[in-house]
Symmetry: C2
Subunit: 344 residues, 2 copies
C-alpha cells in the first residue's frame, strides 16, 4: 500500500540460512502436500487426487492436485510449486528492498477445499518460503470459512492453531490471529471472509512480528505492545512453518467428522452457494497471490483452483433475523477471540 510500512528492524541482517535451505524447505513442502492429500483421501473415502505436473518457462514448476466429486469434497486443490527467476515483483520489493537486484527463489504449498455439505466449512492453507540475495523469509497461514455457525468447531480450530503456535512463542498466535482477521477481510462487504485462523508474512526472525500494511490495526498494535522479539534463527522458523502445516489435519478433520453426515435441504445448499461468492470476491479482488499470479503469467488453472465449483450471486440478499444465517453474519463474520470463546 505504502512504501514504508515495514517496521524498522534493529538487527540489520537476518540469521543466515543453511547451505541446503532450498532443498530442505521444498522437500518439506512436498511432503506436506503428500501427507495432506493422503489424509484427505482417507477422510473422503471416495474421491482421489489427480495430479498435473507443470513447468514454468522462466524457471521452476510444480505439481497441482485436484479432487472432484468426492464424498465430502465437491472440489479441492492442493498445490506445490517451486519457482525462481531474475526479479521479484515490485509489490514484494517494496517490503523487502534488500532483495532488489537479486535473483529470487520461492516455494510453497497451498490448498483450498470446498466441501459439498453446507455444514462442513471451507478451509484454506498456504505456507511459503522466499530467498532473494541477502534475505529469506517464511509466510503463510490457514483459515476457516464456515457456512453455518457452530462455536465448538471454530473454537477447536483456533485452539489447535494456538497450541501449535504456543510451542514456538506465546506472541505468535495473538499476533498472527489478528493479522489473519486483517488480511482476510472484504472491505466492500464489511465482513471477514470467515472465522480466520493465523496468517503471517516476511518472517525472517528479526524485529517485530507484524509486517503488514495496517500500521494502526489490532495486529500492529499487539505487535508493538510486545516489542521486538529476540532474533530467532532459520531452523526455528522452518520448524514453525512445518508445525503449522502439520496442524491442519488435527484442526480440520474433527470438524469434518462431526458435520459430514448432517442432513441439509436446498435452503442450506443455496446459502452455501451464495456465500461461496464471497470466496470468489475475496480471491479475485483482494488476494495478493491470486492477483499477482494472474497478472504475471502464472499457471492460471493452478491459481484459480481455489475458486468454488459452483457459486451463486443474488442481488440484495440479507439473512432473516433470528436464523442461523443471521448468526453467521452477526457473530462469525466479525473478528472474535475464538481461542477464549466460552464453550459449554
Amino acid at each position: 500500500m505504502t512504501s514504508s510500512f515495514v517496521s524498522p528492524a534493529t538487527t540489520s541482517n537476518p540469521a543466515t540460512a543453511p547451505q541446503d535451505s532450498r532443498e530442505r524447505v521444498s522437500q518439506a513442502f512436498k511432503q506436506l502436500q503428500d501427507s495432506i492429500c493422503r489424509q484427505l483421501e482417507t477422510l473422503d473415502g471416495a474421491g482421489t487426487f489427480q495430479e498435473d505436473q507443470w513447468e514454468r518457462p522462466e524457471g521452476g514448476g510444480g505439481r497441482s492436485r485436484v479432487i472432484k466429486q468426492g464424498d465430502i469434497f465437491e472440489q479441492g486443490g492442493v498445490n506445490f510449486s517451486e519457482v525462481w527467476g531474475q526479479n521479484l515483483p515490485p509489490s514484494i520489493l517494496v517490503q523487502r528492498p534488500e532483495a532488489a537486484g537479486h535473483g529470487f527463489y520461492a516455494t510453497g504449498t497451498s490448498m483450498v477445499l470446498h466441501p459439498r455439505n453446507p455444514y462442513v466449512p471451507t478451509v484454506h492453507l498456504n505456507y511459503r518460503y522466499f530467498e532473494a540475495g541477502p534475505v529469506w523469509w517464511f509466510g503463510g497461514g490457514i483459515d476457516l470459512t464456515p457456512y453455518y455457525p457452530f462455536e465448538e468447531d471454530v473454537v477447536h480450530f483456533h485452539r489447535t492453531l494456538k497450541e501449535t503456535c504456543d510451542r514456538y512463542h506465546e506472541a505468535y498466535y495473538p499476533t498472527f490471529k489478528r493479522w489473519c482477521d486483517e488480511y482476510f477481510y472484504l472491505k466492500h462487504r464489511q465482513e471477514t471472509r470467515g472465522v480466520g485462523g493465523i496468517f503471517f508474512d516476511y518472517q525472517d526472525g528479526r524485529g517485530e512480528l507484524y509486517r503488514g500494511p495496517d500500521t494502526n490495526g489490532p495486529a500492529a498494535q499487539h505487535s508493538q505492545q510486545i516489542g521486538e522479539l529476540p532474533q530467532r534463527d532459520w531452523e526455528s522458523l522452518f520448524s514453525f512453518a512445518q508445525a503449522c502445516g502439520n496442524a491442519f489435519v488435527p484442526a480440520y478433520s474433527p470438524i469434518i467428522e462431526k458435520r459430514r453426515s448432517t442432513e441439509y435441504s436446498d435452503h442450506e445448499r443455496q446459502f452455501q452457494l451464495y456465500r461461496r461468492g464471497r470466496y470468489v470476491e475475496f480471491n479475485l479482488v483482494y488476494d495478493r497471490g491470486t492477483i499477482f499470479g494472474l497478472q504475471t503469467n502464472g499457471r492460471t488453472e493452478s491459481i484459480l483452483m481455489s475458486l468454488p465449483p459452483m457459486v451463486r450471486w443474488e442481488y440484495g440478499y440479507t439473512p432473516e433475523p433470528g436464523t442461523p444465517e443471521a448468526r453467521l453474519y452477526d457473530i462469525f463474520l466479525k473478528p472474535q477471540d475464538w481461542a477464549n470463546w466460552p464453550t459449554p
Copy 2:
C-alpha cells in the same frame, strides 16, 4: 498503467459544455434506463424490474433496477447513477490532470443481462459523462458475450453499432471496436471476454480518438493513422452517446428473438455456467469501474449486479475439438472483423 499514455492534443481546451449540461445528460441517461427497462420487460414477457433508489452520503445517488427469473432473463440489472464529490480518484486524474483540484460530477447508465438460455448471449452496456473543473468527457460502450457461436448474430450486432457510429464519424466504429477488443480482454486466459462491440473513454472532442493505455495496440495504431480529428463540439458527442444507447435494443433484440426458444440440454447449460466464470473473472480482476467502486465505498450491491446468478468453475476444462464450444474458443474469443464478416 503509465502516467503519460494520453495522446497529446493540439487543441488545448475542449469545446465549452452548455450551462445545463449536467441536467440534460442525466435526464437522457435516466430516459435511456427507462426505455431499456420498458423494452426488456416487453421482450421478456414475464419478468419485471424491481427498483431500489439509493443515496450516496458523499453526494448523489441512483436507481438500481433488477429483473430476476424472467422468461428470458435469469437475471439482469439496469443502473442509473449521478454522483458528485470533491476529488476524482487518482486513476482518473492521471488521464485528466486538468481536473485535479476541482470537484467532479459523474452520471451514467449501465446494464448487464444474463439470459437463461445458453443460446442467447449475455450483453453489457455502459454510457457515462464526467465534468471536473475545465474538463468534461463522454465514455462507455456495449459488448456481447455469446456462449454458442452464431456468426450471423455477431455480424448483426456489430453492423448495427457500425451504422450508428458511421452517422457521426466514419473513424468512430473502427477505433472504438478495436478499443473494445483491447479493454474486454482476459490476459490470464488469453481470451477476449466475448465478441466485443464498441468502447471509448475520455471523449471531449479534442485530438486523437484513442485514449487508452496500449499505445502500440491496434486501436492506438488505427487512431494514429487517422490522425487528429477536427474538434467536435459537446452537442455532437452528447448526441453520439445517446445514439449509442438507443442502438442497444435494435442490436440485441433480434438475437433474443432468434435464439430464445432454441432447446438446450444440461450440456449447454453447464458450458454456459462455466463460461459465466470468465465474466466474473473479468469484472473482479480487470474492470476499472468495478474495482474502483468496491475499493471506494460504492454501493456494493449495485456494482456487483453485473455478476451472474449462477456460475461454475472447473479445473483444466478445454473444449472437445470439432464441437461448437471449440468453435467459440477458436474464432469468437479472438478479435475478428465482424462488421465485414462474410455471411451466407
